[in-house]
């Protein structure tokens, strides 16, 4: 990576302390780079001011694509390309098409949404994690603050983090 920044890391042991700390630090006028946790912390998006993910819309659109592809395929094959009467059913046996249409809708919605999630979150098999601390995936919550993005003095941020309940305050250049 060509570009490096200096970060101050607040280490928190408890998720409820962390939530309060995020609030305090943000009210103290500090811009938080990102918070890293070993597990999903309930309510963290609100205190960090993150908007609800729009992946639900992605899932819906992919589902719609699945429905259209399934119907196009089935009508194309059974009704247009080679119409045949099977078991006395119509050339366009709509009820027979429901199961496959449903399955393809679910399939495309799931894969489309998960694929989008992987891409936007930069998750890939050859991906290297940008880890501030190895204990993030164990039991510590890390609040990372980019010094370059903040006007406040380093010592002031340090104090703010300690006052908000951080068990350690570290520095890291990434």
């Amino acid at each position: 990576m060509a570009h490096t920044s200096n970060y101050i890391l607040g280490v928190y042991d408890d998720e409820d302390v962390l939530l309060k700390a995020i609030k305090n630090v943000r009210e103290g006028g500090v811009k938080i780079h990102e918070v890293y946790s070993p597990f999903p912390v309930h309510g963290i998006d609100d205190v960090l001011g993150y908007k609800r993910s729009r992946l639900t819309i992605v899932a819906f659109l992919f589902g719609l694509l699945g429905t259209s592809l399934a119907l196009t395929m089935q009508f194309g094959m059974m009704t247009i390309d080679w119409p045949m009467i099977i078991g006395g059913k119509d050339y366009a046996p709509v009820p027979s098409f429901i199961p496959v249409t449903f399955e393809l809708t679910v399939l495309l919605a799931s894969f489309g949404m998960v694929g989008t999630f992987m891409i936007i979150s930069n998750l890939k098999p050859w991906g290297k994690a940008k880890l501030f601390d190895k204990r993030i995936t164990d039991d510590k919550h890390i609040m990372a603050i980019d010094l370059g993005n903040n006007q406040l003095e380093e010592s002031a941020i340090d104090k703010l983090l300690k006052d908000s309940g951080a068990s350690e305050v570290n520095k890291k250049t990434l």
């Binding site: 939530l19 199961p99 399939l107 050859w126």
Partner: protein
């Protein structure tokens, strides 16, 4: 912050901290394989090899190796298929439906249950594929490809084709759901890795996960939507499997009650299999603090409910056969209960209708040995259910001159054994190399619902 009522029993006992969860579960992956595990794996691989011989002979010599005849054209093959698919229902039910209902007790059992689902579906898929006789031509028959042997497309009126779509969608979506849940846990193992190989392998498996709040937020949305999609999916799979029978005109199969009845039966057998496997895993891996007696009791309650639905369905079938006034239908059911396969019918009734009712007693449903035995009995019963539905409905055909019995040959048994070998080989490999409990999810509830450390 998660609030939890003070009178609720703790879901994680033993005063575990978040770090303990990492140690307990990752430790299992990191330690050297134990002797017990090696032995279990060796037995599974031997079973796989023995069954593999049967599969090889079946493909080489043809379907005549099975005991099928002109009257009974479906027997053990489809029985085993439906049985395995049924077992494959609990995992996604636990992770999807219980997630939508916000049942937190799912968190320590969903990983193993989903793994079981995926392996069971693989085993199930073996049967229709092998039944094709020439599986290498299966692509032309089962997938909507322009048929190079003629000009026909696949027939979308056929429930067998719906099954192809249903099972493959179910398998892929369950796999994705399972994998998404595994990513954060693989990252935990990656960050603890002490040697190069595991760092590289778990590094690749963890997809560069870093635990950022933004990613967690999206991750939770993805899990919720996947659960919403997987819930109708899991219900649709066994519904469509039941269509294989229900849309036919065979007395005993031609029943509108089949879809809900099959789904209930699938959940019933799936939970039984989850219990069988988890009772062993919990004992061997000393996971009693994560999979508590409460988890076992709750699963037993699901077994009472679904078992009772299945029991009512059996009785309803009988009533409707009589009430319909259709002689052929009435005969099919009388023949089931009193004909040459009555032993199979009554085994099914005893195992599926009577045995789960024992769980009404709290003493029995909180007894691990009793639960283990009943969970196996339930799965034997569910195998008989499919056998009864398939074989007794077929063996007395429309023409008495073509009435026949079904006798399994060694290849029927061999292929069934093969799927057991496959299932347990995959499950033991999973239990060794993958975190058997969803660490990230359990960590999120340790504080709210974990037992406080005793002073």
């Amino acid at each position: 912050m998660i609030a939890e009522s003070a009178i609720r029993e703790p879901l994680v006992t033993g005063g575990k901290t978040v770090h303990d969860v990492t140690e307990d579960i990752s430790g299992r992956v990191e330690q050297k394989p134990t002797k017990t595990w090696m032995l279990a794996m060796a037995v599974s691989l031997a079973t796989l090899a023995v069954g593999g011989y049967a599969v090889m002979r079946l493909v080489w010599d043809g379907i005549g190796m099975w005991g099928l005849n002109k009257t009974v054209g479906w027997a053990w093959d489809i029985t085993n298929f439906v049985w395995w698919v049924g077992i494959g229902h609990a995992g996604t039910l636990i992770s999807a439906i219980l997630l939508l209902f916000r049942q937190r007790w799912r968190m320590s059992i969903n990983r193993a249950a989903e793994a079981m689902t995926i392996f069971a579906v693989i085993c199930a898929a073996m049967f229709p594929v092998l039944h094709m006789g020439r599986p290498w031509l299966g692509f032309y028959w089962a997938l909507p490809l322009p048929n190079t042997f003629g000009s026909l497309w696949v027939n979308f009126n056929s429930p067998l084709l719906w099954d192809v779509f249903a099972i493959s969608t179910y398998f892929s979506v369950s796999l994705v759901f399972w994998y998404i849940g595994l990513i954060p846990d693989f990252a935990t193992i990656r960050d603890r890795a002490t040697n190069k190989i595991s760092a590289a392998v778990y590094g690749a498996l963890s997809f560069g996960w870093d635990g950022a709040a933004k990613t967690w937020s999206r991750y939770e949305t993805v899990a919720l939507i996947l659960a919403g999609l997987a819930t109708p999916l899991v219900l649709s799979v066994h519904t469509i499997v039941s269509f294989d029978f229900a849309t036919s005109v065979i007395p005993g199969w031609h029943t509108t009650i089949f879809p809900p009845y099959f789904v209930a039966g699938a959940i019933f057998s799936g939970f039984a299999m989850v219990l069988t496997l988890l009772i062993i895993t919990r004992r061997v891996y000393k996971l009693e603090d994560y999979i508590t007696l409460q988890h076992i009791e709750l699963m037993n309650i699901v077994i009472i409910i679904t078992g009772s639905i299945v029991g009512i369905a059996y009785i309803t079938e009988f009533f409707i056969a009589w009430y319909s006034g259709v002689e052929a239908e009435q005969y099919a059911f009388i023949n089931r209960a009193t004909g040459p396969y009555a032993w199979a019918y009554w085994s099914m009734m005893t195992c599926n209708v009577i045995s789960p009712q024992l769980f009404w007693r709290k003493k029995i449903r909180t007894n691990i040995a009793a639960t283990f035995v009943i969970s196996i009995i339930v799965n034997i019963g569910m195998w008989f259910e499919r056998f009864v539905i398939i074989v007794t409905s077929l063996h007395r055909d429309f023409l008495p001159s073509s009435w026949a019995m079904f006798y399994p040959k060694w290849a029927d048994v061999g292929v069934y054994i093969f799927t057991f070998g496959l299932f347990f080989t995959l499950f033991f490999a999973f239990a060794k190399f993958f975190p058997v409990i969803n660490m990230a999810e359990v960590k999120s509830i340790v504080k709210a619902t974990g037992e406080k450390k005793q002073a």
